[in-house]
């Protein structure tokens, strides 16, 4: 089963992204003035979407810009409340005791940005299309759906072929977004969603402007406009913040942070993410098929020192990050021990090992340098092959042609990749697959979480990969800005509640 794993393409473009334990200057600053409903909020992001077609084009840049702001599903998730599922286009839902039937009550009074009213038919066709068309992002999330129907104008019922405890969460993603039935809008360059913002203007290579949708069903957006300013270069982004061109700068370079703080107009925030820096071992290729070799490679790396070097990172000792169900603190499961690593390599007969690391060129060179030095210390020669992201997708993701690979996996709840032997990790463990299947099939959240934790423990024990760090990107938020979201900003940026005060 293939699960979603949007990679941190956005975050990545940046050079030195990472920092240590968050010295975020805490305390929400008291906004200096009244919230101004006519204000424009300007936010710096690094990576621009290549088009606006959120149904078919991958990349976190689109999730950030459009989900919750322009497009909505029946439900969404609240990043700042532990990714809790909350109502969106459905006001309420019930799940049958066997976990197979989901009944949603549609919200009345919802309109698309072209003014037409949302109907149950729009919901049914959107979901049916997403299920039937393989070119739609995360279509596989709905593969298990047996039927989608609407018994009356305000109800939509979905039945599953087998229970899936992650189903509601899947509906908060791309496959669950609702579009107007028979819409002729060119979704590559325009939109017709139901969210609190319309796309007002897209200056390619520069910015995307969202404007408050006055016909919105809920509380109207707190600002009249949101401008997403795409500034890939870190020093240009810092300058933009210092000179006041942006109200919020996401994913700032910690080395340049002091310049931004020096203005006194920003506080530095660092929220939680599910953005895992994974050093994948090709579990299907010798000598990495040998667990001793994999363990040795993990023992050779001082993860605390790495997190400190990268700055916007904290250690992550297993496949599941703290925001996801099944998280357990696995600290100590692997601790820096080069001597033991050398022993293990000798036992495995893998002395004078030479391996290649395939890494997209969007990541800072510091990371590869750190690994080269760590491995050299235990007698492993690491060659670094920097490629662009597109090449990585072809060579590593599709063709599995690699020894070691590094990318950041930003998406939440993507443990399923460890239960899928055809995924590029190539990790094939029947016990993990069984536990994962059970964790989905149960209708009890606690039980599901326990099963996941058990499976995660095995993946960790088997040293299926090295979880180098969990990203803790820093955002500079203007003191004139209130209610800016904090967690998982690399996949969701809900702007509806954000306000900007007049100075």
């Amino acid at each position: 089963m293939l699960r979603r794993t949007a990679l941190a393409t956005s975050a990545l473009l940046i050079g030195a992204l990472l920092l240590t334990s968050c010295t975020a200057s805490g305390n929400d600053p008291a906004p200096s003035g009244e919230a101004d409903p006519n204000a424009t909020l300007t936010v710096r992001l690094s990576l621009e979407p290549s088009n606006l077609d959120i149904r078919r084009t991958s990349g976190a840049a689109l999730d950030q810009a459009l989900i919750d702001n322009v497009y909505q599903g029946l439900v969404t998730r609240d990043g700042d409340q532990n990714n809790e599922i909350v109502p969106a286009l459905a006001t309420a839902w019930t799940v049958s005791p066997d976990g197979l039937t989901y009944t949603f009550t549609l919200r009345p009074g919802v309109t698309f940005h072209d003014g037409s009213a949302l109907t149950a038919e729009d919901v049914v066709t959107s979901l049916q299309t997403a299920q039937g068309d393989a070119t739609i992002q995360n279509s596989a999330d709905l593969a298990n759906v047996a039927s989608i129907s609407s018994p009356d104008a305000s109800t939509v019922v979905m039945t599953l072929a087998k229970p899936n405890i992650d189903f509601l969460f899947a509906l908060t993603g791309r496959a669950g977004l609702i579009f107007k039935n028979g819409d002729t809008t060119n979704l590559q360059t325009a939109e017709n969603g139901t969210g609190p913002f319309r796309v007002e203007n897209w200056n390619t290579g520069q910015s995307l402007t969202l404007a408050r949708y006055d016909g919105y069903w809920g509380d109207k957006a707190g600002v009249a406009q949101v401008v997403l300013d795409y500034i890939p270069d870190q020093s240009a982004a810092t300058n933009a913040a210092v000179s006041g061109d942006v109200d919020v700068a996401l994913e700032i370079d910690p080395e340049l942070q002091s310049q931004i703080e020096g203005t006194g107009n920003f506080t530095i925030e660092s929220g939680l993410t599910t953005d895992k820096g994974i050093l994948a071992f090709n579990n299907q290729r010798a000598p990495l098929t040998d667990q001793r070799v994999r363990e040795a490679l993990r023992l050779a790396v001082d993860h605390d020192a790495l997190a400190e070097t990268l700055v916007t990172a904290q250690t992550l000792n297993g496949p599941i990050p703290p925001l996801d169900p099944g998280y357990e603190d696995l600290t100590g499961s692997i601790s820096f021990n080069p001597d033991r690593a050398r022993e293990l390599l000798a036992e495995a007969g893998a002395e004078n090992l030479s391996l290649t690391l395939t890494i997209p060129n969007v990541y800072p060179g510091t990371l590869a340098t750190f690994l080269v030095a760590s491995y050299a210390d235990v007698g492993v020669k690491l060659q670094v092959k920097q490629v662009d992201f597109s090449t990585w997708l072809t060579d590593v993701y599709t063709n599995h042609d690699y020894d070691l690979s590094f990318v950041r996996h930003v998406e939440a709840r993507d443990f399923g990749n460890w239960a899928d032997p055809t995924y590029y990790f190539g990790f094939d463990n029947a016990e993990v697959q069984g536990l994962y299947a059970q964790s989905l099939a149960t209708t009890d959240a606690q039980q599901s979480s326990d099963l996941l934790a058990e499976a995660a423990q095995i993946v960790d024990d088997q040293d299926a990969a090295d979880w180098l760090f969990l990203s803790a990107p820093r955002a500079a938020v203007g003191t004139n800005v209130s209610n800016f979201p904090k967690n998982s900003l690399n996949v969701r940026l809900p702007f509806a509640d954000v306000t900007v005060s007049s100075e």
Binding site: L2, R3, R4, T5, A6, L7, E48, S50, N51, D53, R56, T57, S58, G59, A134, T135, Q137, N138, S139, A140, N186, Q188, T189, N201, N203, T204, G205, Q206, S207, T209, V227, D229, Y230, I231, P232, D233, S235, A236, N239, A240, V242, S243, D245, V387, D388, F389, S390, T391, L393, T394, D395, Y397, T398, H409
Partner: protein, 316 residues
């Protein structure tokens, strides 16, 4: 003259044909695949195949090339696979940043290069001339990116006179802001290119000073400077035109880099983004347009030579 122009034009067209083939082939050799990028890391091989079909990428390569050339002959540069927007209209939109930037850069290069080049040649035995020459040598060796960062630090961050990055969202409907946004980038490219031009003008001028006709003119009673200006510089001008033709290409390359550094929504930034997205039909249209532009500049330079230099006219 007309025969000469037609020959050059023939070469220009031949150059374009060769360039189109080179561009097409080199882009196809590039690893990576747009369908894979659009599908991302959740797409299975089957889904990628479905996307490839949707994007119309299943036709054999030779047919894609023939289709492209066919479109070019009808004046159609192609369209983006990702947005469906015609390449030509995208180029026109982005040229509103890049063309003014190039013109401003060229102006800076000329202002820096020509007068100071001549001055540094004339004053070669004095401290000022030597300083100019050494300074130019140093500047010409400076990477454009570094020059840009230094200019930003001084004029945008310390002095706060000019914006450090970006272009006004209103574009040229806010002409003052748009112009201000281009000053630092243009200075960055212009000063570095100008320093190269300065060195060239200096050595060309030095050569002219040593020419017999300049000495003769001086012997007839003109001052050395006047002899140089009246008789030497017109000859220098010819080779400067050639160098300027080459520098136009340099400025375009400089613009690609500088647009990243200053976050300017111009042709260069678009090109880099399109390559990263593997939007090959768009990239090949853009590259061909740029190649065509450089070839046309070369063509014009060749013709200008003919028009200006009687010796070349007679020779044919």
């Amino acid at each position: 003259m007309i025969r000469y122009a037609l020959t050059r034009l023939g070469l220009l067209v031949l150059g374009l044909v060769v360039a189109s083939a080179l561009i097409f082939v080199s882009l196809r050799v590039l690893p990576g695949d747009i369908a894979q990028l659009v599908g991302g890391t959740q797409a299975s091989p089957d889904q990628v195949e479905a996307l490839r079909e949707r994007l119309g990428l299943t036709a054999p390569l030779w047919q894609q090339y023939v289709d492209w050339i066919g479109g070019l002959l009808r004046g159609d540069l192609g369209s983006s696979l990702l947005t469906g927007t015609p390449v030509a209209s995208e180029l026109v939109a982005k040229a509103q940043v890049t063309v003014p930037l190039a013109v401003m850069s060229l102006t800076v290069a000329l202002v820096v290069g020509i007068p100071f080049g001549v001055l540094s040649a004339l004053g070669r035995h004095r401290a000022g001339g030597t300083a100019l020459s050494v300074g130019a040598q140093a500047l010409a060796a400076v990477p454009v990116v570094w020059a840009g960062m230094m200019l930003v630090v001084v004029f945008a961050v310390w002095l706060g006179w000019l914006p450090p990055q970006g272009f006004p969202r209103a574009g040229w409907s806010d002409p003052a802001a748009a112009f201000r946004a281009l000053i630092l980038p243009a200075l960055t490219i212009g000063v570095v290119e100008g320093a190269m031009l300065l060195r060239f003008v200096r050595s060309a001028t030095l050569q002219a000073i040593g020419q017999d006709y300049v000495r003769t003119a001086a012997a007839k009673g003109l001052t050395r400077t006047r002899a140089l200006v009246r008789h030497g510089l017109p000859n220098v001008g010819l080779s400067i035109i050639t160098v300027l033709g080459l520098q136009v290409a340099g400025i375009i390359v400089g613009a690609v880099v500088i647009e990243q550094l200053f976050t300017l929504p111009g042709v260069g930034r678009m090109l880099v983004a399109d390559v990263a997205a593997r939007d090959l039909p768009k990239v090949q249209g853009e590259l061909l347009a740029l190649t065509g532009f450089v070839l046309v500049v070369g063509f014009v330079v060749d013709l200008l030579h003919r028009v200006i230099d009687p010796r070349q006219r007679e020779a044919s």
